[in-house]
Symmetry: C2
Subunit: 131 residues, 2 copies
């Protein structure tokens, strides 16, 4: 468990819930887990998530409408991040590949496209679940 000293109470609660979880959580699932801590409305969760995403402490999985704590919260890997999502057990692996980043950068440059953020999600089965 990481420190989060500079986080607000709600941000801390939300990040804590994500870190404690086995896999990705929807905003409403997070809310349910934090009712006992005083959270009552979706916006409280969404606002905290927005900040956590900005800070790189959490990520949004677009193909699941769900969120995970960053697996590498200390090394702020600013480059492109990829996620492998097991559809059986829900486990998420976060990784990055420099060659992939370079290829996408090259495509963007050739097209004159200015990327702001990129999402990359591989759905499938992890080693355990494929066995």
């Amino acid at each position: 468990m990481t420190e989060h000293s500079d986080l607000t109470r709600n941000q801390s609660l939300v990040l804590g819930a994500l870190e404690k979880a086995e896999g990705p959580l929807s905003a409403y699932t997070i809310l349910d887990k934090l009712r006992d801590d005083g959270l009552r409305a979706p916006l409280q969760v969404y606002r905290a998530l927005d900040k956590l995403l900005d800070m790189g402490l959490a990520h949004r999985l677009e193909s699941l409408n769900a969120f995970v704590a960053c697996a590498h919260p200390h090394c702020h890997n600013t480059g492109l991040i990829a996620f492998a999502i097991c559809e059986t057990c829900g486990q998420v692996s976060e990784f990055s590949d420099d060659v992939v980043r370079q290829r996408l950068d090259a495509w963007a440059k050739a097209e004159g496209f200015r990327p702001t953020r990129t999402t990359m999600e591989i759905r499938g089965q992890c080693r355990k679940c494929a066995a």
Copy 2:
């Protein structure tokens, strides 16, 4: 405009709406465009979309909760597809890169991960809008 001879009426209508559109459309926007053709309920659109996605004639943009007609409906590029989405004008470019596909395959093989489908979406500004 492509032929779609083997499509059902609803599938044909939905694909037509996507092809006519400048950019990605949400399911409900498609529904609104097809009210005059007799469509009344979201499920009619979602069911048609499911088939079109299966056939590779349309794609879902996860980061937008929206859909586009395939830009290459004839060459069924079975490999990984990437999308560049302009956040200013909404234009979507569909492309693929063999090196990227190979790198992801290599990662998956090394991890023992069995991919079923991959989404890759670059958000940013197209050349025109960046000028």
